[in-house]
């Protein structure tokens, strides 16, 4: 139809360029005819007998002619491409447009005067060529000297299409990237839009659907269609058609309408989506989407669900701000579309769009809430000072419960916000009186569900910023204290009534009490999560993922930690250093943890401490599930806290002896293995004090009773013990120089054999459980321990014939030797550290991953 394929065109273009180049000096004198575009130098070709014939070189202008004589000639009408406002074409119908080329040699001679009319398709081929077939069937090509010239005239054609001759079109044709074909992109042209007739049959709807589908293929058509959808009331029309069709049970129409709405959603346009979920459209749209060509014989009942059994929009207290209310509703409806109505339909692209809109709406809601008085009124429900006013409210207890649900929902919503927004929102919550709410949930309310929600809120806030609650609360109280001294009462009334714990321990104290007293397993799990978050020295358990959130605290918290701590933790710019209290110092943090060990830990671990003090291990109020939590917590503080601080506590209170007892037969296997893992983790710390203590207290004894119970089986217990033994023998290998990768055999100036903690432990275990080990020589991991021991003895005998003692003494001399050993054999140490870390992080994951 039009001149040539892409390949042909390229050839032609090459030829034309040459032609154009010959005359390049002659462009200075522009023809002074009245024109609507700047004249651009061009060669004109026409196709004759299948050959392009050069008909001359000249200057091309786009011209508009007024047909009506009473109007002035619209010079600027189509001159600049951008000026067109897309306004009403009807006003301009009295115009004609032409592409005119005047001979450069003789400006009076017109080489070409071609009207833009009918449904001519203009092709812009590559950068400098415009090609078309006019209504008389002539193929014409304009080859521009510069691409800018081509741009100008294409801009003109676009304007003409908009305002003068709607049915012409401009298409860009480019060779595709792989060079084998061509890519067409519509720049301007008539857009087939869906019918807006009030009555439509299946045929019309089918056509509309087809048009809508086709229009998604090109950016231009898509944008024009979106414009149409937003300007016209097409969606209202669809809903009207739907209501009639549903009334008349016209299934085909219903299915077509559903397909049309789905196609509109695929336009991925935010305005369209928002239009669909506003008050006047949402039910109609959801109704239409109840029909689905995928399930042609069925109908979903979304509307019925929404109106009767579905989620209710609850207003704990009346929401006075209408705009906020609208936002909340919109948010919910979009979520409903995303999660329910369109769940099988949305692709990733559309899903992301909806998520983006939701995030936007949520951000709006959050900032609204900070400014509005609504939250203040909610918080007032829990303020002990308002007892009298609140007493007049109906269903106060119910309102308080719902209020916590509401606050919880706000906090859930806030999780997607950016960190700064989150901080602001949480600060606002605490300032407005969150502590009263928590106090109510934990001290007055006994409903587990409410407590779970309250704990969840705490977790969200402290995972974001560990000290936020504490700092804001602190500021608030000190301000109030400054103002009125007697307000000290308030401090007591807001949760510190026991007067035992310091301000910074208040939250920990409350959570500890709940963990030890509340029997709800779900709540317990959550409280443990909150406790570990509060007690985590990194201040954030998902550090790697959300490091930017908490890195500022990480630095400050990471005091006095052992070399095992990950030094490679990313520390991005501290862009929100204002979040934490500026006078927060390491000292304060140290005090925080020492307060914990003084005030909280003795209570938190009391079931374990009491056990050691002779209380029976299975009292009614210490159930096994609680003990599992506590034993995991022991492992946690041993591995994550300042070594000296936690170790002093653990050893002084004799906690490991209790943990050891929990491996005995009268406990459930889950607890026994949890206890075993705790020893494994502590052992991996390679800490001299722990190692000596654990050997001298015989805490390992129950492990081998546990092993004998299970040795004939292949189960998790055996796997767990196998892992335990493997760690020991693996750690001994470098010491013995059995590892090919290590530079050993150890050359030492002294006659001493290196006695790492693991070598000592291995020797101890072999001595103590020799009977067990030698009874199961076919069990490889036990044999490994024996082998290691034997080789060690050989090595020892060779190197130091005088030292024949099996078990080295645990005295102060030995201590120094040990330290030396560790520091001298760096490969060993590094290997240990690496393995410790891996192991620890693995176990640690299982303990804390719930927080991710």
């Amino acid at each position: 139809m039009f001149p040539g394929t892409a390949a042909e065109t390229r050839e032609e273009r090459a030829g034309m360029r040459q032609g154009g180049g010959e005359n390049s000096e002659a462009d200075a004198k522009g023809a002074s005819i009245c024109c609507d575009t700047e004249p651009k130098r061009v060669k004109v070709y026409v196709l004759e007998n299948n050959e392009w014939k050069d008909t001359g070189t000249g200057f091309c202008t786009g011209e508009i002619e007024e047909l009506r004589k009473d109007e002035p000639s619209g010079e600027s009408e189509a001159g600049e491409g951008e000026s067109g406002s897309g306004g009403e074409p009807s006003a301009e119908t009295g115009k004609c447009a032409f592409l005119v080329v005047n001979n450069e040699e003789c400006p009076a001679e017109t080489l070409l005067r071609s009207k833009l009319e009918g449904n001519i398709e203009y092709q812009r081929q590559e950068e400098t060529l415009i090609v078309w077939k006019d209504v008389d069937g002539h193929d014409i090509a304009l080859s521009f000297e510069e691409s800018v010239g081509c741009d100008t005239l294409c801009g003109f054609i676009v304007q003409v299409q908009r305002h003068v001759a709607n049915n012409i079109s401009l298409v860009a044709v480019r060779a595709s990237n792989n060079g084998t074909g061509s890519v067409h992109e519509i720049i301007a042209g008539p857009v087939s839009l869906p019918s807006v007739e009030k009555e439509q049959d299946t045929a019309t709807l089918m056509e509309s659907l087809k048009a809508l589908n086709e229009n998604t293929a090109y950016e231009y058509l898509k944008n024009e269609t979106i414009e149409f959808l937003l300007q016209s009331s097409y969606i209202d029309l669809l809903i009207n058609l739907f209501n009639k069709a549903e009334e008349n049970k016209q299934l085909k129409v219903l299915l077509l309408l559903s397909s049309i709405v789905k196609t509109l959603i695929l336009y991925s346009n935010r305005d369209i989506l928002e239009l669909m979920v506003d008050d006047s459209h949402v039910m109609g749209i959801i109704g239409i989407l109840e029909y689905d060509t995928e399930f042609p014989t069925m109908k979903a009942n979304h509307r019925h669900y929404l109106m009767t059994s579905g989620p209710i929009f609850k207003e704990v207290l009346p929401l006075k701000n209408a705009e906020l209310k609208e936002l909340v509703k919109k948010c919910f409806r979009l979520q409903f579309l995303k999660d329910v109505v369109l769940v099988r339909f949305l692709d990733d692209h559309n899903l992301n769009l909806i998520m983006d809109i939701l995030l936007d709406l949520e951000t709006c809601i959050m900032s609204f809430l900070q400014r509005d008085s609504f939250l203040d009124r909610i918080m007032a429900l829990y303020n002990p000072e308002n007892v009298k006013e609140n007493a007049e409210l109906d269903d106060l207890a119910e309102k308080k419960k719902d209020g916590i649900k509401l606050l919880h929902q706000c906090v859930q919503m806030s999780k997607n916000l950016d960190p700064m927004e989150k901080t602001n929102f949480y600060k606002a919550l605490v300032t407005k009186g969150l502590f009263n709410v928590l106090y109510y949930a934990f001290k007055m309310e006994t409903d587990s569900n409410t407590r779970i929600l309250a704990t969840d809120m705490i977790i969200a806030i402290i995972e974001h910023d560990l000290l936020l609650i504490q700092n804001v609360q602190h500021e608030k109280l000190s301000q109030e204290d400054d103002a009125v001294d007697m307000k000290n009462d308030k401090l007591a009334s807001s949760g510190n009534s026991s007067g035992e714990e310091t301000e910074d321990m208040k939250l920990l104290a409350v959570l500890t009490t709940i963990l030890l007293t509340d029997k709800s397993p779900g709540l317990r799990g959550q409280v443990v999560q909150a406790l570990t978050t509060l007690l985590h020295p990194d201040g954030c358990l998902e550090g790697a993922e959300r490091g930017y959130d908490n890195s500022h605290m990480l630095n400050k918290f990471n005091f006095g930690m052992g070399p095992d701590d990950d030094p490679g933790f990313a520390t991005p710019a501290d862009y929100k250093s204002d979040v934490t209290n500026p006078d927060l110092t390491d000292l304060q943090l140290k005090r925080y943890f020492s307060n914990f060990y003084e005030q909280i830990a003795p209570i938190l671990f009391s079931p374990l401490i009491d056990m050691k003090n002779g209380a029976t291990t299975t009292t009614a109020n210490t159930d096994e599930q609680l003990l599992i939590h506590l034993v995991k917590m022991v492992s946690f503080i041993c591995t994550e806290h300042n070594r000296m601080m936690s170790r002093t506590f653990i050893l002084e209170k004799g906690i490991l002896k209790s943990v050891s007892k929990l491996m005995e037969m009268n406990h459930i296997p889950q607890l026994r293995l949890t206890a075993l893992r705790t020893f494994k983790n502590i052992m991996c710390l390679n800490d001299n004090y722990y190692h000596r203590y654990m050997i001298s207290s015989d805490v390992y004894d129950p492990i081998f009773i546990l092993l004998e119970e299970n040795i004939k089986k292949d189960n998790l217990t055996v796997s767990c013990i196998q892992d335990f033994c493997k760690i020991i023998s693996n750690h001994c290998i470098p010491t013995l120089g059995l590892d090919n990768n290590s530079p050993s055999p150890i050359k030492r100036s002294t006659n001493q054999i290196k006695k790492s903690n693991f070598v000592i432990l291995n020797k101890y275990l072999v001595n103590r459980f020799f009977k067990v080990f030698s009874g199961y020589k076919d069990v490889l991991f036990l044999k490994d321990l024996l082998d290691v021991d034997e080789r060690l003895s050989n090595l020892e005998n060779n190197k130091n014939s005088s030292n024949t003692n099996g078990l080295p003494p645990f005295n102060d001399e030995e201590d120094t030797v040990n330290m030396e050993d560790i520091s001298m054999d760096s490969t060993d140490h590094e290997a240990n550290a690496g393995q410790n870390k891996r192991r620890r992080s693995a176990e640690y994951d299982s303990f804390t991953a719930e927080m991710t």
Binding site: D292, F295, T297, M298, A300, P311, I312, F313, K314, E315, V316, L319, L324, V328, F336, D339, V340, V343, R344, I365, D402, K405, L406, Q409, C410, N449, I452, D456, P521, G522, L523, G525, Q526, I668, P669, Q670, L673, R677, K680, D714, N715, L716, T717, V718, S719, C720, Q722, D723, F724, L780, F781, R838, S841, A842, E843, D845, S846, A849, E850, T852
Partner: protein
């Protein structure tokens, strides 16, 4: 807890009280703690691949393959995420496991972890169905106890993902303390994450966890452990199953029309007493509720909303 009643509720996709889930999960812990990292299973047995929360297709699976009363099953993991009935699917399997401990072997998949379920649907599903995540927590505890693999008649090794450079022998798997969140590296991670591919040797996996392994690694593992076949899941196969490496490895996929849109068929692999392989393929069918009414699978909407 009335197991039959719970099973009936589950088959109908109905709500299970939190307390029931809790006690079910505790019982399963006790049961699973006594299982090996690599469970021994006898023939005849039917191997099933990924389920991904497609409860109704899971019911079809049982229907097409003999049912749990008559057939022994190994499930290769990925019970949860993606589909809209992760909880019901997983609990159904747990109930069957409790009812017929010797007839069902459950192997852990890479989706049976806290981290993955938080992203791919199970966590959100629980949150929508219960308003809090307790039930998710209970289930995650059970995930930690699931086996890492199974061995049929000492001849067929079953695992969710594939091989690991750290695992030459089955005994190496026994030494893993499996009760933990799946680590980001190491043998336990690889078993759940690796994929077979046309590679010369161990290669980086595009998944970011586990490895790609080729015929060499498979041959070596088969020979070294004197086994005939590695049966695994983990990858969508449009035809339901796919044998590779001269029949030394098979991928079994049991979620038809995956994600309700992939258009694939599903398969289970029955191993008879002569270790012959017999594939049964099945398609997604129109799901029904408990009383035979057709239903459209969908997510449960969120609970009440406030403000």
């Amino acid at each position: 807890m009335n197991l039959d009643h719970t099973l009936e509720l589950l088959r109908q996709g109905k709500h299970i009280p939190e307390e029931t889930v809790y006690s079910l999960c505790l019982e399963l812990q006790e049961l699973l703690i006594n299982e090996a990292n690599v469970s021994y299973v006898d023939t005849p047995v039917t191997i099933c691949g990924d389920i991904h929360g497609q409860l109704h297709d899971l019911l079809t699976l049982f229907e097409k393959s003999g049912g749990v009363e008559k057939t022994r099953y190994i499930f290769l993991g990925d019970f949860v995420d993606r589909g809209f009935y992760s909880l019901e699917s997983f609990l159904l399997l747990l109930c069957y496991k409790l009812r017929y401990p010797d007839r069902i072997t459950l192997i852990r998949g890479n989706h049976e972890t806290r981290q993955i379920t938080k992203v791919y649907g199970f966590y959100d599903e629980v949150l929508r169905k219960y308003g809090n995540c307790n039930v998710w927590r209970y289930c995650c505890e059970v995930f930690d106890y699931l086996s890492l693999g199974a061995i049929i008649n000492n001849k067929i090794f079953c695992v969710h993902g594939g091989l690991s450079p750290d695992v030459d022998t089955l005994d190496a798997i026994r030494g893993i303390d499996r009760k933990q969140e799946v680590p980001h590296e190491g043998p336990m991670c690889d078993l759940l994450w690796s994929d077979p591919d046309d590679v010369e040797t161990w290669s980086l996996s595009p998944r970011g966890a586990g490895f790609l392994f080729g015929k060499n690694e498979v041959d070596k593992f088969l020979h070294g452990n004197d086994i005939e076949l590695i049966a695994r899941a983990h990858q969508l196969v449009m035809e339901g199953y796919k044998e590779m490496f001269d029949g030394g490895l098979v991928t079994v996929w049991s979620a038809p029309n995956y994600c309700y849109r992939c258009g694939n068929i599903a398969a289970v692999l029955e191993i008879d007493d002569q270790l012959q392989r017999n594939y049964t393929i099945f398609e997604a069918v129109q799901p029904q509720d408990g009383v035979g009414n057709a239903i459209i699978p969908t997510k449960k909407p969120q609970m009440d909303y406030f403000l």
